[in-house]
């Protein structure tokens, strides 16, 4: 279907976008790449009075490297992130996850901030943000605040962004450990679809192969992407093998309460979570161990 009528404002700066958001509040939606928002309008799931377009704001499109962080403008396109070798060396999970996100045509337009703000519980980038504990800079006309990913995601397609707030930057933590490995995988009906279940892990090891830092998580099996910090912490100081990975994955899967829908039953999703977590833990661990 066609989108319902709305009024449109192309903004040239984040200040201008925030000013319009403060004027129109709930009646306005920010449009970034539009790869999820436009279909929602076409399905008439949303009827915003205004679309505030941030696509032409150059200041929202950048990738900046700092010692322990990569700062990224919210309107940075997914294709730009996927192509960036220097970024892949620092936050490899972004490229690994983007390999599962949509297709060339949607990644050319889709943005990182848009995917996070849309907050589909099956989406790949929110899961990466969750396990890496990314920090999101939110801006209003008069204030700025930073939320950790865990406090940003509030439910399926829901975030703690206020109606007058615009996502401005994402700060991705960089792991400085030399021997770090990461992995991302998912099962979906067709490649590029949203995941039935996605799993991802990042692990750092010492020279003896003992884990020094572990994080992992699951998407598509709960209202928000989930990380498992307590289970991950249990692996620190230990070597990982198949049996241990499987045991941790089973514990994580047992803690999930996934939904049944037309794509997969709850039982199947839980099963997938166990299998996929085990896989990413081992892959991340092996990559970390074989790092120079």
């Amino acid at each position: 279907m066609k989108s319902p009528p709305f009024e449109y404002a192309r903004t040239a700066s984040i200040e201008e976008a925030c000013e319009l958001l403060s004027q129109h509040g709930d009646a306005a939606k920010v449009i970034a790449g539009g790869q999820s928002l436009v279909p929602m309008l076409a399905f008439r799931l949303l009827r915003p009075g205004w679309l505030i377009d941030i696509n032409e704001i150059a200041a929202l499109k950048f990738v900046a490297f700092e010692t322990d962080t990569v700062r990224m403008g919210a309107c940075t396109r997914q294709c730009v992130v996927a192509r960036d070798d220097a970024l892949a060396a620092r936050v490899p999970l972004l490229r690994q996850a983007l390999a599962f996100v949509g297709h060339t045509q949607t990644r050319n337009r889709g943005t990182v901030g848009g995917s996070l703000a849309h907050a589909d519980p099956s989406a790949e980038l929110p899961l990466v943000a969750q396990i890496l504990e990314a920090r999101l800079v939110l801006r209003t006309k008069s204030a700025k605040r930073t939320l950790p990913a865990a406090e940003f995601f509030a439910g399926p397609m829901m975030t703690n962004l206020q109606p007058d707030e615009c996502l401005e930057e994402i700060h991705w933590p960089v792991w400085r450990e030399q021997k770090t490995g990461s992995a991302f995988t998912e099962i979906s009906r067709r490649h590029g679809d949203f995941a039935m279940v996605a799993a991802t892990a990042q692990i750092a090891v010492d020279d003896d192969g003992q884990c020094t830092r572990v994080t992992f998580g699951v998407g598509g099996a709960a209202p928000v992407p989930l990380a498992f910090p307590a289970l991950a912490q249990n692996l620190v100081g230990r070597r990982l093998d198949k049996a241990k990975a499987r045991a941790v994955a089973q514990e994580a899967a047992a803690a999930l309460e996934p939904d049944t829908d037309t794509h997969a039953s709850a039982a199947y999703r839980r099963h997938l979570a166990g299998v996929l977590v085990s896989r990413v833990l081992l892959e991340a661990y092996d990559t970390a161990r074989s790092a120079p």
Binding site: P5, Q35, P39, G102, H103, Q105, H191
Partner: protein, 163 residues
């Protein structure tokens, strides 16, 4: 109720085109209904099928997921822009004919845009890269094999400098 109209100026296939559009007019509707460039097809109208693919500033995007007003100041290449200036088929288009890379033709404009974008960036793609490049384009006739063959043939012909 009258909708607000926005003035736009877009370079389409190398020519500056201007128009007045409502905010909700999708880029593909503007191309087809206002500019009569009906080569770009509308399939699903919600970003799944890829039939409406066009190039925006040289990169393929779905024109059903953009509003025409957002294209203001940008350049668009549609399937009409792929042919040679004299109207003859491009090497890629001719390769689709040669390899029977189409049956009903509905997906063809999107396939051509996706394939051309691939060949622009990577003149010697592997089969896997070809399949990945058209991964966002649905075809219900061919089973894809002949489309993959057509793109591979086009790459071969371009490398050989053949017409």
């Amino acid at each position: 109720m009258s909708e607000v109209l926005y003035s736009i100026a877009v370079e389409v296939n190398g020519t500056k085109r201007v128009g007045q559009v409502s905010a909700r007019t999708s880029l593909v509707d503007w191309l087809r209904e206002h500019l009569n460039l009906t080569g770009t097809h509308i399939g699903c109208e919600h970003g799944i099928c890829g039939a409406c693919s066009v190039m925006l500033d040289g990169e393929p995007v779905r024109s059903c997921l953009m509003y025409a007003v957002q294209a203001d100041g940008h350049s668009i290449t549609t399937v009409e822009g792929l042919a040679r200036p004299d109207g003859q088929l491009s090497i890629l288009q001719d390769s689709f004919c040669e390899a029977h890379g189409l049956q009903c033709g509905y997906c063809t404009p999107g396939m051509l845009i996706a394939a051309q974008a691939l060949l622009d960036a990577n003149p010697r793609p592997t089969e896997e890269q070809i399949r990945d490049a058209i991964g966002g384009n649905l075809c219900r006739c061919t089973g894809y094999q002949q489309i993959v063959d057509a793109i591979a043939l086009a790459a071969e012909r371009m490398a050989g400098g053949a017409a």
